[in-house]
């Protein structure tokens, strides 16, 4: 900030002081450095979340990341392997399994063919399992990847790699990087919002951490019942009038101090308080579904078990995107089915499939899918071999890092296609290996960000989401 800006703020103190019941839109615009009608020399207070242009023209403006924590089984959902039937109940020859890194089972474990039925869907004819009919119904919007791979075969390191590009904890996560790179289109909601359902992911809050970026970029957890954001509700006895009066007094005194010290941090602080006040009004509004049609609510499965919690989150995600929230992450845990996989996987699909399918349909109906990238992914996949911990239980599957499936839709992604193939037993990739870093590079690319240039200097090094790897997979956009 230069001297002129400093003076300009000094002379504009009346702006704050006499704008009655709080800041109006113009004053807010003034604060966050946007042009105000008729004003030519608007001083800017550095807002770290002001919208920023990317490196090139984006295809997508927002991301909804459906994070399936715990690693869902690609073999039972997305990647049919009829050849496994021949091996069912037998161990595979050692020559096939010697390179596998497995967490719990030994390479000699017996093969578990999928009991699921796969059918082609849509004009594209992509095959999906009968566990996910609603997602399958969007086949022509979905670009399915069957050739994902990762290095990490344990949950927390795997989730860390998926979210932050490194198995080492402490790096910023993808939502934080995107907020850092593009800022926020919303003036009264956070740039990066997290919605959680199920029983809590292995990575906990490290999945939406700002890492070494400042806390401006952390994922803000939004709860779908009660107080949506921590500390959002006024303390008991504080009506909106009292809250406004408190804020006005804080602002006046902060301005006094600003005048005395000239420290622009105080101007930012004033702005943060105003945004907080707006957030107090805007966040609960998101939870008010009364203006949603009955058909919409039914399509998502709101108000119906077992879909209700996840349906609420999916609908909230759409509403947030409408309000300009940059990055919404929906974490659902856990898909870690080491035992009784058919039963447990079925249950998670019953919870999540209908809402996820509805989200795609709803975004499309409203013309939002073009500008919203939807990602469905877990941290790794599961083995074609079964896992038995006790003889008296049905089998599950172990962790499998060498190949798994994810999908993306919207945001410029060409639907109705499948990228990559795995070998006939689902042990490894046959064609088009796509690493986690490639997926991350591609997501950033869709948003107009060059993954090699979105960097932050920390501990003497320029860090980036894709660490030292990553290639944009142009096939997604073909």
């Amino acid at each position: 900030m230069d001297v002129l800006d400093y003076r300009a703020i000094q002379t504009r103190r009346h702006f704050f002081r006499y704008c009655g019941g709080g800041l109006d839109a113009a004053a807010l615009a003034f604060l966050i450095g946007r042009p105000v009608r008729g004003a030519t020399t608007v001083p800017r207070v550095a807002n770290p979340l002001a919208p920023k242009p990317g490196h090139f023209a984006p295809k997508a403006k927002n991301v909804i990341f459906l994070f399936m924590a715990g690693a869902p089984s690609q073999i039972d959902l997305y990647d049919p392997k009829p050849a496994l039937q021949r091996w069912h109940g037998q161990p595979l020859p050692e020559s096939m399994t010697k390179d596998l890194e497995l967490a719990f089972v030994k390479p000699s474990a017996k093969v578990l063919a999928s009991p699921r039925v796969f059918r082609p869907h849509g004009e594209s004819g992509t095959e999906f399992s009968d566990f996910i009919p609603h997602i399958a119904s969007r086949a022509d919007d979905i670009c399915l990847v069957r050739s994902m791979h990762t290095e990490a075969f344990n949950h927390h390191p795997g989730q860390s790699l998926l979210m932050s590009g490194s198995v080492q904890l402490g790096r910023p996560t993808i939502g934080a990087w995107v907020s850092y790179g593009l800022g926020s289109e919303s003036v009264n909601l956070p740039a990066f919002v997290v919605l959680s359902s199920g029983r809590g992911a292995s990575g906990g809050s490290s999945n939406w951490s700002n890492g070494f970026l400042d806390s401006t970029y952390q994922g803000v957890v939004f709860r779908n019942t009660g107080e949506p954001i921590l500390y959002l509700k006024n303390p008991s006895g504080v009506s909106n009038r009292t809250q406004r009066a408190r804020l006005d007094a804080i602002r006046e005194l902060n301005l006094e101090r600003y005048e005395a010290t000239g420290d622009t941090e105080i101007a930012s602080r004033i702005q943060s308080y105003e945004l907080a006040f707006r957030m107090q009004a805007a966040a609960p509004e998101l939870l008010d579904f009364s203006k949603e049609s009955k058909a919409t609510l039914e399509m998502y499965g709101v108000g119906k078990e077992p879909t209700h919690p996840y349906a609420t989150n999916c609908l909230l995600a759409r509403r947030m995107v409408e309000k300009g929230v940059r990055f919404v992450m929906l974490a659902h845990a856990s898909w870690d089915d080491h035992q009784e996989i058919d039963k447990k996987l079925g249950k998670n699909c019953q919870i999540t499939d209908q809402p996820a399918g509805a989200l795609l349909q709803d975004l499309k109906q409203r013309g939002l899918l073009d500008s919203t990238l939807v990602v469905w992914a877990g941290e790794f996949g599961r083995t074609p071999m079964g896992q038995l911990e006790r003889v008296d239980e049905a089998a599950g599957r172990d962790h499998h890092a060498k190949c798994f499936s994810v999908w993306m839709a919207g945001g410029g992604v060409q639907g109705g296609q499948v990228i990559g193939t795995t070998d006939e037993l689902g042990l490894g990739i046959a064609e088009d290996p796509i690493h986690i870093h490639d997926l991350q590079a591609t997501i950033l690319h869709a948003l107009g960000l060059d993954h090699e240039h979105l960097t932050y200097r920390h501990m003497g090094r320029d860090f980036r989401l894709t660490d030292v790897g990553g290639n944009v997979v142009s096939k997604f956009f073909a």
């Binding site: 770290p48 030994k106 990575g203 490290s206 006024n234 009066a245 408190r246 005194l253 602080r269």
Partner: protein, 858 residues
């Protein structure tokens, strides 16, 4: 920062191989001449990366001895055996993931054939061929030069100078023709120095006494008093905890609690309060276990190495994670003492600094023999009751275990466990059971393998407890039911809870025999290269072992006079806390990528004084806060906004937002709620419901502490890594996954919501309101002045007073019309004050606790 190597297409590989064969078949070459035929190939195609200037992967191909010795993976030329020589495998593209040279054209088939023949013919390399000089690395980089006490520069304005710091600062300002700022107001200075030295605002008494008779001597007495306060140790422990990546839980999925992590923190607070010399502070933390006749405290100090994360997730490979832990330990030493990003050399030679991958694994080797142990580390007063209760406890425990067949069943379980460890993959259920022993019991496999007679009582007890809890993994369900050890466990837990115990410490011990260390190719835990011995980076002064254990020798080397880094790095970090920016602006990187010091002579003067003072931290702190540079006003200088926007030249002080923990402390202090007890275990202040629900599978519970424990300083907040206390996260406490030298200072709406609405701060506002109403008579202006003094350590000016009066009136009007709100906002009643008024004063208190100035040290 290795780019993943491209896989060369299969067809090209086959073609290349075919060509080779064809070439070989057609014309078997005669005797190859090294100088004529081989040296030119190496010169042209290899030397850029494997020459005198750069030895990628530790390999040098322009000098005989080095070339025949090989690189980090071992020898690359096996005389007489070209087929097994790595050089050939790489240039011929036989290993599919790596081909050399990595860019440009491949070697031609005739070149490859020449190399093959040369090797098969014995790889003769005439000794008189050029340059086999050592690879001793020299550098003129400033940070690697020994610290020399600089001469103090002359200045014009002698009167401004209070101590040598000022000379260095002023000389530079005079050079630029800039005047320093005027001194800060006295109230500001007192609040600043109190927050800086103790993390608490000044007590009203201290402030009043100082303002009544301000003088240079009075300021010095205040500084001395603050340095003697036990809160000094708390404030500066905070700084050290960031570096030591301290937390109260393991991190990762399981994120198990570490009930005794605080014992190490206690050691830090005590050491700082006693002004333990930084040299000794270093020795005890790095190698306290190896000191002659190591005391319990010295062993507790080694808990420094135990602060890293621990992954107990089911599928984790023990050796892989031990490797990662050792990497973390080596990197932490590099950051904290050397200010170097040594971690960059885990996978390859450092890109910017003269640190080779070999240097890295030599440093790694110091940490590679660490075993984790738990030791009894009683706090004062614990031993008596413990010893008194012990005999009876042991008898009761023995009876219970005897009755429940534990002694009968455990030996066979142990024996089978050892068998399983020796025969992995043979018995699936035992593999799982062994995994549990390794994961949940520190050094678990080691304990199982020890004969009963060699285990400590603690080890035996822990093993028994583990056995009782985990036996079900290897037996039939029916037998498990019959044993009913679930009830046994409950009984044991009750017995334990009823018996006084001592505190334990998380320490380290030396593995015996020491493990060999290898270079890990591309940093992979399971890809070993050549063996290396412990040693310090070649560019730094050599390590003298003198028969000592290497880790102890390292500790002494870190704080030796010749080491150019430790003192500079330490004083720079401390300087940063006082001025908001280090003299070197990158405290975590003193390498070539750093912009370097803004005041090189000042940095060296501070570093040499620090060493000369016997590494006294308190002396260093005092020197800084006594300087005129420190005492300047922090107001912005419009005249310098263009010339020195970052205040690099130090023509003023800086307003610095308080660290997260100290924001909490300041609010509790102003309200009078603060429990000033120093040290002890971690506590759980109230936090909103549902925060811990985001941890893995409901594994974390948060039962808020009761009574005075609710009001302890932020430093003592229990740090559950996967779901950190929200107020600390909102105000940028590092997540403690790795050493952090500089905290971010963000400014966000969540912070506003936190201070406005968090019940902790609302409770503080209520208590502050009571304090204001109790402290003075009925005069509103007097009360407002008192409130201002309590929160900001100063008097309000007329305009500030007016704003507060207006707010108070407006708030009373609101509460008059919302009487129920008043009662909710201020449920405590105050004698002689009506409810609406008390509630409005609570509003005033809350406004003050939310001011930017309140959470800032100016």
């Amino acid at each position: 920062m290795h780019r993943r190597k491209r896989i060369i297409p299969g067809l090209a590989l086959i073609a290349a191989l075919l060509l080779l064969r064809a070439g070989a078949a057609q014309e078997p070459p005669g005797r190859v001449d090294f100088a004529e035929q081989i040296a030119p190939i190496l010169e042209k195609r290899c030397k850029a990366c494997h020459g005198a200037a750069l030895q990628s992967s530790g390999l040098r191909l322009d000098a005989r001895e080095a070339a025949l010795r090989g690189g980090y993976s071992g020898p690359v030329i096996l005389a007489g055996n070209s087929a097994a020589s790595r050089l050939i495998r790489l240039v011929a593209g036989i290993d599919k993931d790596l081909v050399m040279p990595p860019s440009g054209e491949r070697l031609s088939s005739s070149e490859i054939e020449l190399l093959r023949s040369w090797i098969d013919q014995g790889a003769e390399w005439p000794a008189d061929s050029k340059g086999a000089e050592g690879d001793e690395r020299k550098t003129d980089h400033w940070a690697f030069q020994r610290v020399v006490q600089p001469t103090r520069p002359p200045v014009q304005a002698e009167a401004w100078v209070r101590n040598p710091i000022d000379r260095f600062v002023l000389a530079r300002l005079e050079e630029e023709g800039i005047e320093p700022s005027k001194p800060a107001r006295l109230e500001t200075l007192v609040r600043r120095v109190s927050l800086d030295l103790t993390g608490l605002p000044p007590s009203p008494a201290d402030l009043e006494a100082f303002l009544a008779a301000p003088s240079s001597e009075a300021y010095e007495r205040l500084v001395d008093r603050l340095l003697e306060s036990p809160h000094y140790g708390e404030r500066w422990a905070l700084h050290w905890l960031d570096l030591a990546r301290y937390a109260d839980s393991d991190g990762y999925e399981k994120d198990s609690e570490r009930p005794y992590a605080w014992r190490w923190r206690q050691w830090v607070i005590d050491a700082l309060n006693r002004d333990m010399p930084f040299a000794r502070f270093t020795r005890e933390q790095v190698a306290g276990d190896l000191l002659p006749r190591a005391t319990v405290d010295q062993r507790v100090a080694t808990g420094f190495h135990r602060n890293g994360l621990k992954n107990r997730e089911g599928g984790v490979k023990i050796e892989q994670f031990r490797f990662e832990e050792t990497v973390d330990r080596a990197n932490t030493i590099g950051t904290v003492w050397l200010g170097l990003t040594v971690g960059c050399a885990q996978c390859h030679d450092h890109k910017y600094d003269p640190i080779s991958q070999e240097d890295y694994y030599r440093l790694f080797a110091f940490m590679n023999d660490i075993d984790e142990v738990e030791i009894a580390a009683p706090m004062p007063g614990e031993m008596g009751p413990y010893l008194k209760a012990l005999p009876n406890y042991l008898i009761r425990r023995r009876e219970l275990l005897e009755k429940n067949r534990v002694y009968e069943l455990q030996p066979a379980w142990e024996a089978q466990m050892v068998l399983a460890a020796d025969n992995p993959g043979k018995w699936t259920d035992w593999d799982h059971a062994l995994d549990a022993v390794q994961k949940y019991l520190d050094n678990g496999e080691g304990i199982v393998r020890k004969p009963r007679s060699e285990r400590t009582d603690r080890e035996q007890t822990k093993l028994e407890d583990h056995f009782i809890k985990n036996y079900h993994r290897v037996i039939e369900k029916d037998f498990w039911k019959e044993l009913d050890w679930v009830s046994l466990r409950e009984e044991l837990i009750r017995l334990r809870a009823d018996t006084p115990d001592v505190t334990y410490g998380r320490a380290i011990a030396n593995a015996d025999p020491g493990r060999r260390t290898h270079i890990h190719i591309r940093g992979a835990w399971n890809h070993s290269g050549i063996p290396v011995e412990p040693g310090t980076p070649a560019v730094l002064p050599p390590l003298r072992l003198d028969g000592k254990h290497p880790r102890l020798a390292l500790a002494e080397w870190l704080v030796s006079d010749e080491n150019p880094l430790t003192a500079r790095v330490a004083v720079n970090r401390i300087w940063q806390e006082y001025f908001g920016r280090g003299i070197v602006p990158t405290p975590d990187d003193f390498g070539r990528r750093s912009p370097g010091p803004s005041h090189p002579a000042l940095l060296d003067w501070l570093a040499s004084e620090f060493m000369d003072s016997g590494w006294s931290l308190k002396t260093l702190h005092k020197t800084i806060v006594m300087s005129a540079a420190y005492r300047q006003s922090s107001a912005r200088r419009p005249d310098l906004e263009q010339r020195d926007p970052g205040n690099t030249l130090l023509a003023r002080q800086r307003r610095i937002r308080l660290p997260a923990e100290i924001i909490r402390d300041a609010a509790l202090d102003a309200s009078g709620l603060l429990n000033p007890a120093v040290g002890g275990r971690s506590v759980r202040p109230p936090q909103p419901q549902g925060v811990t629900g985001l941890a893995y599978a409901g594994s974390v519970s948060w039962n808020s502490s009761r009574g005075k424990d609710r009001y302890r300083r932020g430093l003592y907040t229990f740090l559950q890594r996967t779901v950190l206390y929200p107020q600390l996260v909102n105000f940028d406490m590092p997540d403690r996954t790795a050493a952090v030298c500089t905290r971010e200072r963000s400014n966000t709406p969540l912070q506003a919501l936190n201070l406005l609405n968090d019940s902790v701060f609302v409770e503080a506002a209520r208590a502050l309101a009571l304090r204001i109403l109790a402290a003075s008579g009925g005069d509103t202006a007097g009360r407002l002045r008192e409130a201002f003094r309590l929160c900001l350590s100063r008097e309000p000016d007329a305009s500030e007073l007016r704003h507060l009066q207006e707010y108070l009136a407006a708030q009373m009007a609101i509460f008059d019309s919302e009487p129920e709100s008043a009662a909710q906002f201020m449920p405590l009643s105050v004698e002689g004050v009506d409810r609406v008024e008390a509630a409005a004063w609570t509003g005033v208190a809350s406004v003050l606790l939310n001011l930017d100035e309140f959470i800032t040290r100016e």
